[in-house]
């Protein structure tokens, strides 16, 4: 076995040194009834070539996004990842290191996480950010829990424009934590009066910007109303690139921002791993979940970095911790940091402009097809179309024609007849003019 350095001769010597007759003697504490004598019913060891063949065959059965005109978003976005990103994150010193508990041996990880935290704070215009969570949906649930701790209230109001996976993850967490959620119905394009739901028991209002249907809104007024009633405003961002173009949550008065960071540096990966982003106000930092990296000095007075405020965390506080999270998304955060560092201010602005331009062009072309209507008043790189018939079968027909043409909203809301015709379409910098032509032609044919 190529990954195991011990030879049979080593094993014999070592057993003798330990003073036991056989390896079985080292498993003597296992009750006899639970010892599995032979091999389990699984294939035997394989060489690299065989593993590559088998997994390659599975991979080949899938239709890769890059192989066809591709227009899916809905919380996971296909962007071009600069070659340097994947090269750098595969350096063994990053890839194969542990959580940086020993700061003297992990200044590299700690420094990039400090840079990551700074990038998130700048992007969201918030004061502080943590070193990542699992993904946007779990970050959202953590935000609701944190708002509950800060306000000592147990009700959260969720916008109907919140990503349905984020809403359902919040519902799962809240059910067991004993919190009450009031989720508004999904209603694309229409305004919802969230302010009317804020009362003295409300811990937070959760909105998404751009919302699930792509609409961009100014939540400044809602923030004021929340604050008047002692509630917090949580803003969710599922397409972090949008903050290169639109007003950030911090400038709208958000108290907590939870976001998905996959767009920078991370592949779609069929939905994971992605990277949860979490930012807040400095005064709330002791209630934040997850790792935090802080600046300090070493014994020679030189600047260095450490994990800090760990008295919030499970390994110190156990059942009184702010979250049970331990492992987060370190390497995904590194990919994010490198990609955003490569872009810089100018690149980020430019990439956001390109995305918006691609989406505007796509929306104009598709909404020119008879019977197809653009639902949005505003959008960044994703928008919703109303088709003259159910979008689910249309998307399947498009796939048969070699176009991955958006997400039917009904996939998230089965049984909601009024949403059946809605198609969520995203266009990023990876879309070409020819892709738009092919999408337009295919959609026109399918709807004819």
């Amino acid at each position: 076995m190529r990954y195991l350095p011990l030879t049979d001769a080593d094993r014999t010597l070592m057993l003798a040194r330990i003073g036991v007759p056989s390896i079985d003697a080292l498993f003597a504490d296992v009750p006899a009834a639970a010892r599995h004598p032979g091999l389990l019913d699984l294939p035997l060891a394989m060489g690299e070539l065989e593993v590559e063949r088998r997994l390659g065959a599975m991979a080949a059965k899938n239709l890769s996004a890059g192989a066809v005109p591709f227009f899916l978003g809905g919380g996971a976005y296909r962007h071009h990842i600069p070659a340097a990103v994947d090269h750098l994150i595969q350096r063994g010193e990053f890839l194969t290191s542990y959580t940086p508990y020993q700061p003297e041996l992990a200044q590299g990880t700690l420094q990039y996480l400090f840079e990551f935290q700074t990038q998130i704070a700048l992007l969201t215009a918030m004061e502080v950010a943590n070193a990542s969570l699992y993904d946007g949906a779990t970050a959202c649930a953590e935000a609701v829990a944190m708002a509950g701790r800060l306000t000592r209230r147990d009700k959260a109001v969720l916008s109907g424009g919140l990503h349905p996976h984020y809403r359902t993850v919040c519902e799962t967490y809240a059910r067991f934590a004993g919190n009450e959620l009031r989720a508004r119905d999904a209603a694309p394009g229409g305004g919802e009066d969230l302010a009317a739901l804020v009362d003295e028991d409300t811990a937070c209002v959760v909105v998404q910007n751009p919302d699930f249907f792509g609409e961009i809104r100014d939540y400044s007024k809602l923030a004021e109303i929340c604050h008047q009633k002692g509630a917090l405003l949580v803003v969710i961002v599922t397409e972090i690139l949008s903050l290169g173009a639109i007003i950030p949550p911090g400038e709208m008065g958000a108290d907590i921002v939870a976001a998905e960071g996959q767009s920078f540096g991370n592949a779609l990966n069929f939905g994971g791993p992605h990277v949860g982003l979490f930012a807040s106000r400095e005064k709330f930092v002791r209630q934040m979940p997850g790792r935090l990296v802080g600046e300090t000095r070493d014994a020679e007075g030189r600047r260095g970095w450490v994990l800090t405020l760990s008295t919030r965390e499970q390994h110190i506080r156990r059942e009184k911790a702010t979250s049970n999270i331990c492992t987060n998304s370190g390497l995904c955060a590194l990919a994010f940091t490198i990609h955003l560092a490569l872009l810089g201010e100018a690149g980020l602005r430019g990439l956001a402009r390109l995305n918006h331009a691609a989406a505007v062009a796509t929306a104009e072309r598709l909404s020119g097809i008879p019977g197809v209507h653009l639902v949005n008043d505003s959008f960044f790189n994703e928008f919703t179309l109303r088709l003259p018939r159910a979008a689910g079968p249309v998307v399947d027909r498009l796939a048969e024609k070699g176009v991955l043409g958006g997400i039917p909203v009904s996939r998230f809301y089965p049984g909601r007849r009024e949403l059946e015709g809605l198609l969520l379409v995203a266009a990023t910098e990876t879309v070409t003019p020819e892709d738009i032509d092919r999408f337009e032609a295919a959609l026109g044919e399918v709807l004819r």
């Binding site: 195991l4 011990l6 389990l40 592949a267 800090t308």
Partner: protein, 528 residues
């Protein structure tokens, strides 16, 4: 789970600084400022297409909400970025560079084949919400991972979506609570041994439970009598790590399971240490109802400096109906996902994360499992246990072994051997850093004083273990010599001396947290 505690380290006793260089660099240790301190405004490390994907200027549809103020991100070219992160990487220790004996964390070799497989475009460049007809291979991958994990655990069902071990715990305890509620049984408490990972009580609390600690017996195992005394109709579950965090197999586990089940409670196992028994012992045969598996431990997906992980949970038949969404089913037209809590999944606890789980980690874990096979995985457990016991006997007379007798994949020492030396567990561990080794887990588990928990893993050679043991013995001797005053205690206190940074002031970091870079003028304002 993979976490462990550590005392806050204070600045060491100052001593003469090493020779000062003009640059501040020390040979291969190169100082590297923050990205934000290297800004060339307007510069960019990516050349974006100028008039692509659309040629003409477009009418903005941003609803008048354009971002106006500068964001503050620095501009750098690609060579500057590559050098920056390469230099940062050189300040890290990694399993690629040496033995990483963090007990309970399982730092083993990460095969590069797994990385290559995860990057196949048929897996990496796949959107989670593509039509199911276009992702049958990815669903087959999930199904295959499920088959391997169910076979290895002997359990009938597996929930794959949890994103890490602690998330798997959350999943397991939620399914237990939902199953209890489904039978109209409201219970309030979860029992957790003193030696448990911090995630266990934190998870139980997040699921609305009170936590009661169960003491360990003199043999480092659960005190069965104490457990029996605390079990009752108010107890929902026992959360037990097995092999436990003392590196010992819970040899009364069948009695423990019987007692838990006799009280109508569920038996949750923290599977962080499954690597010790994989292929040899199946958790189902130990009476376990739910066990999470850290794919980044047993199945060697890279730790990545703190994630991403993956924490599938194997479930007994009674808990399976509560498994989180989505479910993978075999339909008429191939694999299909059940994404709503209805039909077969009507009793599901719901969704625990966005989309379907950590697919990229499944690819790596499956490549690992296929590479090893049933025979290799069994060998993994055997070599992991052999290596730990070899270190145990080589160190037993130099360090103080907490519990005599054989151990599993890790061996626990405490600080009795440092008594009267003035050297602490922390000092000892930091001295190990100067010797070129990552320290073992310190001060965890909490059941012994000044714990030093060593897990070598199966991917260390005998020569590597011999060298490590001789260094530990040497350090122990040096510590002993401090008793008489002959030794250099100050050297221990000042360690490490050869790292890019010396001991860092964690107390100061926590007292006045600086959690982000700010431009200089703002720093001044903040100071005023």
């Amino acid at each position: 789970m993979s976490e462990w505690s550590q005392a806050l380290s204070a600045p060491a006793i100052p001593e003469p600084a090493p020779a000062q260089t003009i640059s501040g660099n020390r040979g291969l240790q190169i100082e590297e400022p923050l990205l934000f301190e290297q800004d060339s405004p307007g510069h960019c490390g990516v050349d974006l297409p100028v008039d692509f994907p659309v040629p003409a200027p477009i009418r903005s549809r941003l609803g008048g909400l354009e971002r106006q103020r500068p964001i503050g991100l620095p501009g750098l070219s690609e060579p500057q970025i590559v050098r920056h992160f390469t230099r940062l990487s050189q300040k890290n220790y990694a399993i690629d560079s040496g033995l990483y004996p963090l007990g309970s964390c399982t730092m083993k070799h990460n095969p590069r084949l797994n990385e290559k497989m995860a990057r196949l475009s048929g897996f990496a460049d796949l959107h989670p919400l593509q039509p199911e007809s276009t992702v049958q291979g990815a669903l087959e991958l999930i199904d295959t991972v499920a088959h391997w994990l169910k076979t290895l655990t002997g359990m009938p069902a597996i929930a794959l979506s949890p994103a890490a071990g602690a998330h798997g715990e959350l999943c397991g305890i939620m399914t237990i609570r939902a199953a209890l509620e489904a039978r109209g049984d409201r219970r309030l408490k979860i029992l957790v041994p003193e030696s448990a990972h911090g995630t266990n009580p934190a998870t139980a609390a997040a699921c609305g439970y009170e936590i009661e600690a169960i003491p360990a017996n003199a043999r480092g195992r659960v005190d069965l009598a104490a457990l029996r005394a605390r079990l009752g109709p108010d107890v929902a579950a026992l959360m037990l790590t097995n092999p436990n965090t003392c590196g010992l197999f819970e040899d009364e586990i069948l009695e423990i399971a019987a007692a838990v089940h006799g009280a109508g409670a569920f038996f949750y196992c923290d599977g962080a240490n499954f690597n010790a028994i994989v292929g040899r012992v199946r958790p189902a045969e130990l009476g376990i109802d739910a066990i999470h598996l850290n794919l980044h431990k047993t199945f060697s997906t890279p730790h990545g400096g703190g994630g991403p992980g993956s924490g599938p949970v194997a479930l007994a038949a009674e808990l399976a109906p509560q498994a989180p969404l989505p479910w993978l089913v075999h339909g008429a037209e191939g694999f299909a996902l059940v994404e709503e809590a209805q039909g077969p999944a009507e009793r599901s606890i719901g969704r625990l994360k966005g989309f379907h789980g950590q697919i990229g980690m499944f690819v790596r874990a499956l490549a690992y499992m296929m590479s090893h096979g049933a025979d290799g995985l069994k060998q993994v457990a055997e070599d992991a246990v052999l290596n730990a016991n070899y270190l145990r006997v080589k160190l037993a007379d130099a360090l103080s072994l907490s519990f005599p007798g054989i151990c599993m994949h890790e061996v626990l020492f405490d600080d009795r051997f440092l008594k009267d030396t003035g050297v602490t567990t922390l000092d000892f561990a930091k001295a190990l850093i100067d010797e070129g080794f990552h320290p073992m887990t310190m001060y965890f588990p909490l059941v012994v004083h000044g714990a030093l928990l060593i897990e070598p893993t199966e991917t260390e050679s005998k020569a590597s273990l011999d060298q490590f043991a001789s260094v530990l013995r040497g350090l122990a001797e040096r510590a002993q010599s401090c008793k008489t005053g002959a030794g250099d205690m100050a050297a221990f206190r000042a360690a490490p001396r050869l790292t890019p940074r010396r001991r860092l002031d964690e107390t100061a970091a926590a007292r006045k947290p600086v959690l982000r870079w700010r431009p200089a003028p703002l720093r001044q304002e903040a100071a005023e």
